[in-house]
């Protein structure tokens, strides 16, 4: 899945989206050349979803939002909870705005969940939450268990957290798996 992100706030929304395994484009430089050949309307035709931070103005923000509405692309309009852009929100509340365009407030604590929920609605293979809630029983040898104890103390993480962190590193760096995610229908 390809997501276009337009964001000039301090929160790195693009990187947050990348952690879900999704391809992110923030400019034409991110798109492979062949992806932009034969465009009839604009480059947004080639993306599956759009995320816009609407409280921090960028020159092309309203143009892109308008195009997203025309193309009826799944679009998430984010704004900080304490900084509502009233005029834009008023416009986005009109009945004629398609259901594909949603608006959500965010804080630093909630933004990841908000983005994941949106992406999950577009692509079910992206988990809506990255909170570990699947129980997994793993039998270890005594040697392994002693090593894990020592590692947890050294790294100041509990054993489960350490193992999850190790698995996540493997997942993020496994190019074959990342390619599999891209090709998996």
């Amino acid at each position: 899945m390809i997501v276009y992100v337009l964001n000039t706030s301090d929160t790195d929304i693009a990187q947050l989206v990348r952690t879900t395994g999704t391809t992110v484009w923030t400019s034409v430089q991110d798109a492979p050349r062949h992806a932009l050949e034969g465009l009839t309307l604009n480059a947004l035709e080639r993306v599956n979803a759009i995320i816009l931070e609407i409280a921090h103005p960028a020159d092309e923000l309203y143009y892109i939002l308008a195009q997203a509405i025309i193309l009826q692309k799944p679009t998430l309009c984010l704004y900080p909870k304490n900084k509502e852009p009233r005029e834009v929100l008023q416009h986005l509340s009109k009945r004629t705005i398609p259901a594909s365009v949603t608006k959500r407030p965010y804080t630093t604590a909630t933004i990841e969940e908000t983005v994941r929920k949106f992406l999950n609605a577009v692509d079910y293979s992206i988990p809506a939450s990255d909170i570990p809630n699947i129980k997994f029983t793993l039998r270890l040898t005594t040697t392994m268990e002693r090593y894990l104890d020592w590692l947890a103390q050294e790294r100041q993480l509990n054993k489960a957290e350490y193992l999850r962190a190790m698995l996540k590193r493997e997942l993020d760096n496994d190019d074959t798996y990342q390619q599999f995610l891209k090709n998996d229908p």
Partner: protein
């Protein structure tokens, strides 16, 4: 909108460009354009409806009326959009170009670039109404940006009217000669570095133009009698390479003849014949239409045609 992005004002002048079922009243068109409310995100848009015609049916006087409307409201708006069918748009857009001397803001022509049936290219299907909405939105956006001149926005490549030529493609119906397009649509609208920027100078409007300039393409047996030619204020011809014009063309003494060649003439140029090169035919015709109303003196006319005020000469 945030104060960091001051609202711009754009005037949309409607001549046609949207295939509508009859009858279509001005109110209906106004309501339809207003429903493209995505436009209101990028600018405060005001609509003036002159008529609703296919490009092939738009007359010179309608184009003149659109230009006069723009001139009358020039200081009130940041930019202008003229909605016009693809047919004849090269002529209309070039006429508007030459009616303004030192244009300081953008005037963007746009409309539907596809016919009513869906267009299929490779694995894409283009829906005409979405294409129209996108073109209109792009035109309004361009009208707010730091550019000037008469611009054509009928697809993802944006070209200047004075350099525009018909292209054989369906997706990109217009092309540009002597330069790249001046803007591209990628995610946003990207002006290219050579796009002329806005100016703060005053603009001059030249409302008069002749509708009696005859455009001719010579062919074997071409004839033009003196009585026929008397109806015309000038002739613009795509000339012959070896002889410029047929010897039976009678009015070299009475009316100016402007000949467009692709390379310098190899024969002596008769008096009254003005040779032009490196300009598109629509630009030459419309430039002549405006210039002939300002002077009929062949020397002054030649000088006026050879001025390059709009970067129309290659």
């Amino acid at each position: 909108m945030s104060s960091a992005l001051k609202r711009k004002r754009v005037r949309v002048v409607y001549l046609g460009g949207i295939p509508l079922s009859e009858p279509s009243t001005p109110q209906y068109i106004n309501d339809m354009l207003s429903q493209f409310l995505e436009l209101q995100l990028v600018a405060d848009v005001e609509v003036r409806i002159i008529d609703n015609l296919a490009g092939a049916d738009i007359t010179w006087s309608m184009v003149g009326e659109a230009a006069r409307d723009i001139a009358a409201h020039y200081d009130e708006f940041d930019g202008f959009v003229i909605m016009h069918g693809l047919d004849n748009v090269l002529y209309s857009a070039n006429l508007v170009t030459f009616m303004f001397h030192r244009l300081t803001k953008p005037i963007v022509f746009t409309g539907m670039a596809h016919n009513e049936s869906t267009t299929q290219t490779t694995d894409q299907v283009v829906y005409p109404i979405i294409g129209l909405q996108t073109n209109l939105l792009t035109a309004v956006q361009l009208a707010t940006m730091n550019c000037r001149g008469v611009i054509l926005a009928y697809g993802p490549h944006i070209v200047r009217a004075v350099r525009a030529v018909q292209h054989q493609g369906v997706i990109q119906p217009l092309d540009s000669i002597g330069e790249e397009e001046i803007a591209r649509i990628q995610f946003g609208v990207q002006l290219l570095p050579h796009a002329p920027e806005r100016l703060s100078d005053s603009v001059e409007f030249w409302p008069e133009f002749s509708e009696t300039v005859r455009l001719v393409q010579f062919y074997p047996g071409f004839r033009l009698s003196e009585s026929e030619a008397a109806q015309y204020s000038a002739i613009v011809a795509v000339g012959y390479e070896e002889q410029l014009v047929p010897t039976n063309l009678p009015l070299l003494e009475t009316i100016p003849v402007v000949v467009l060649l692709s390379k310098p003439p190899i024969v002596p140029v008769p008096e009254g014949v003005i040779i032009m090169q490196g300009i598109t035919l629509p630009a030459l015709l419309t430039k002549t239409m405006v210039a002939i109303r300002r002077t009929t003196d062949p020397v002054k006319l030649a000088r006026a045609l050879r001025r390059n005020d709009h970067d129309e000469l290659l």
